[in-house]
């Protein structure tokens, strides 16, 4: 089994290094093929490991080598495949395999084809390190690795100002959160003396509650950055500047869920501090609603899906915060499938529409793009949580968790958000695929994506439909490690009312979205309609003015402070002293060059002067040495 672990871990690394060899050369099809093949081999290994775990084969744990060993500190490069990490490995390798195959088609005409695969595989490797590590230090390495690859990939089209800006924003926001995470890790090491998961969690219950609370808070700050929770959420929507397969892999399915994974992985820690858990759940519910509201009015296809991701991450944090870790992980998995599918579908649409992102300029695309239409509709149905698609099982479960735990406010917020989710998902579908063929006004001739891209997407479609049926198998597997709490509503009547009620509510939202946006009277908004001038619309469209506030109150003061430091400190103190030293050297050189006149007579005079000087020094030192005793007495008499 260890062999499979190594293949799953290192195949992406090999793939990345291989593609990296050709980054400076024109597009080579075989880099894409080899990279995809290696990632698929990682997928196969993950499947073998999953089967091994499912058959009760036990946890696979290897220690590759010692990483750090000084004093009491011992951190190995250790990797573990247990019930939780194998779930994540499956999600990561499956989605990344699909995305790799898809990218062969999507990046077909891009100059950076080889470079793209190098970055993408490097991301998969980092993500595998993150999920497979058996200690916090390894997790942190993976954590930073995915951050770096995310930066590289968001800014992949680095000639675009907006892309580099978005990449930097994502990276800096994550750095802020990573500081919190790092403090959390320091606290763990300081108080438990180890960073290994098992040992650290075993030592937690004996610690002071206050310390455990701080550890929990700081780890969660790290999770907030990676999972783009409020108030560090702005980077996710801007990260959509990257190529669409990147959005599907990194900013929907895997990296942004790393925060949820961290909370799930630290479940023994968060079990000790239910008050922090409640905070996490409340923040999650807030973000779910907050992000969904912004998705309602946005006019950028990818941003709508990004807000939807944000909203679903909120759901996951509600589940994780309330202690239903397996539910969070289950929703993470299901969400990864249908959200990646949705993004890849959006990528097809973008290709067909020549990078047009405004769904109001599309319409009626179901005819030329039949398969993309079917896939995106089914993915949206799964996202909305209609029975029997994956979203129903995972998202309704979170609602039930909130209900069973008697957090009715959270429940109401989540239920309302479920309606919003359905509405904005189908607003998007209706605008893109139904109604008048508005794209004709812009002279676009849409075409369906390559066949192999559609075939490559099909595993996601299949899983988006059937993932819910694995619920019990999954539950039995993962609860070997996580608390096995089943969330059943005791009264049958309540259960049915809730389920059917939710379904009806969601269904009505979908119908309303279709009614409003699928008709032929939709035109491209020009900012004159009554709705567009309403306060609420403006607020939502400008993302509650939060990016504006950040710009005004953080970026600008910081820039001014930097200018002051640049002009006052750097220019006047640092630069001035360095320039001053150089000036002294130049000045003395300028003054003394007259000595080198080339005149022998002058030189001889200088030679004599030098000799006299040296001789006098010798005399002075000689005298000082001879009369050192007396000199000391005189000096001590002077009180020196």
């Amino acid at each position: 089994m260890e062999l499979y672990l190594y293949i799953a871990l290192f195949a992406p690394l090999v793939s990345s290094l291989f593609s990296a060899l050709f980054t400076a050369t024109p597009k080579k099809m075989f880099t894409g093929v080899v990279a995809s093949g290696l990632i698929i081999s990682a997928l196969v290994s993950s499947i073998v490991l999953l089967v091994h775990i499912l058959n009760g084969g036990g946890v696979v744990h290897v220690e590759l080598m010692t990483w750090m060993e000084t004093g009491d500190l011992y951190i190995p490069f250790g990797f573990v495949v247990d019930e939780v990490s194998v779930t994540m490995m499956m999600v990561v390798t499956l989605v990344s395999s699909v995305v790799h195959v898809y990218s062969v088609g999507y990046m077909d005409h891009d100059k950076g084809f080889n470079r793209f695969f190098s970055y993408l595989s490097a991301f998969v490797f980092s993500m595998m390190v993150l999920v497979m590590s058996d200690n916090f230090a390894g997790l942190f390495i993976g954590w930073e690795g995915v951050g770096l690859c995310s930066w590289l990939l968001i800014g992949f089209w680095y000639h675009k100002e907006s892309a580099t800006w978005a990449a930097n924003e994502a990276f800096i926001m994550n750095r802020i959160a990573d500081l919190g995470m790092l403090i959390g890790l320091f606290l763990i090491y300081w108080h438990t003396g180890t960073l290994q998961y098992t040992e650290a969690f075993a030592a937690m219950p004996s610690l002071n509650t206050e310390i455990v609370t701080w550890i929990g808070i700081f780890l969660f700050i790290g999770a907030m950055g990676k999972s783009a929770q409020f108030p560090l959420h702005t980077w996710l929507a801007d990260a959509m500047e990257g190529p669409t397969p990147v959005s599907a892999l990194i900013h929907a399915a895997t990296m942004v869920t790393a925060g949820v994974y961290l909370v799930v992985r630290s479940s023994p820690l968060f079990d000790l501090i239910p008050h922090v858990g409640l905070f996490i759940a409340s923040l999650g519910a807030f973000v779910a609603l907050f992000a969904a509201s912004m998705a309602l009015v946005n006019r950028d296809m990818k941003r709508i899906i990004a807000y939807s991701t944000l909203s679903q991450l909120g759901y996951m944090f509600v589940a994780a915060g309330l202690g239903a870790y397996w539910v969070a992980l289950f929703h993470l998995m299901a969400h990864a499938f249908f959200k990646a599918l949705l993004f890849l579908g959006a990528g097809n649409v973008m290709h067909a529409m020549h990078d047009e992102l405004d769904p109001f300029k599309m319409g009626g695309l179901k005819k030329p793009m039949k398969w993309t239409f079917i896939m995106m509709t089914l993915a949206s149905v799964a996202l909305a949580g209609i029975y029997p698609f994956a979203g129903f099982f995972s998202k309704d479960l979170i609602l039930e968790v909130a209900f069973v735990e008697h957090h009715f406010i959270l429940y109401t917020v989540l239920l309302f958000t479920a309606g919003l989710t359905a509405f904005y998902s189908f607003r998007l579908v209706a605008l893109i695929f139904h109604g008048e063929e508005r794209y004709k006004l812009f002279g676009v001739h849409p075409h369906e994506a390559y066949k192999f891209m559609l075939i490559g997407m099909s595993p996601l479609l299949l899983l988006a439909i059937i993932a819910g049926s694995f619920k019990m198998t999954y539950f039995e597997m993962v609860t070997a490690l996580l608390p096995a709490t089943e969330y059943h509503i005791h009264s049958h009547l309540t259960f049915w009312i809730m389920t059917i009620g939710t379904q009806l509510f969601v269904g009505l939202s979908i119908l309303y979205a279709y009614k409003k946006y699928a008709n032929s009277s939709i035109t491209v908004p020009n900012g004159t309609s009554k709705m567009e001038n309403s306060f609420v619309y403006k607020m939502l469209f400008n993302q509650y003015y939060i990016p504006y506030l950040y710009q005004e109150y953080f970026v600008k003061p910081y820039r001014e402070l930097s200018t002051v430091f640049w002009e006052q400190v750097d220019m006047k103190i640092v630069d001035a002293s360095v320039d001053g030293i150089a000036g002294i050297v130049y000045g003395t050189g300028e003054k003394t060059r007259a000595m080198q006149s080339g005149n022998l007579s002058t030189m001889l005079k200088w030679m004599v002067a030098g000799t006299v000087g040296l001789l006098s020094l010798a005399v002075v030192f000689g005298l000082a040495a001879r009369y050192s005793g007396e000199i000391k007495t005189i000096l001590s008499g002077l009180g020196v």
Partner: protein, 101 residues
């Protein structure tokens, strides 16, 4: 008055100063060599005097070495001087500034 070590050393110092002034002031290369000879011989006097004073022959031996080296130095120096004079027609120090930076 008996002539003692100090007198020799004083003579040596006076000669050395004369030589030093000569080295600094003379503009004629030939006279510069003469000044150098005065410097070397002032030191020789001091060597011989101190050697005699301590009854140790090392100093006098050293004086012989200095004479030998001075002789060879003058031989080489005069050779160069003659070549210089043939080329440039003078031996004025102020005109020898080809090493000017």
């Amino acid at each position: 008055m008996e002539i003692g070590l100090n007198h020799y050393l004083a003579l040596s110092a006076i000669l050395f100063s004369i030589g030093l002034v000569g080295v600094m002031r003379r503009k004629n290369l030939l006279l510069l060599f003469l000044a150098t000879e005065i410097l070397l011989n002032s030191v020789n006097i001091a060597f011989a005097a101190i050697s005699h004073y301590y009854g140790d022959l090392t100093g006098q031996m050293f004086a012989f070495f200095v004479i030998a080296i001075a002789a060879s130095e003058v031989a080489v120096g005069l050779g160069l001087l003659i070549v210089w004079h043939k080329r440039h027609g003078n031996i004025d120090l102020d005109t020898m500034s080809t090493m000017r930076g």
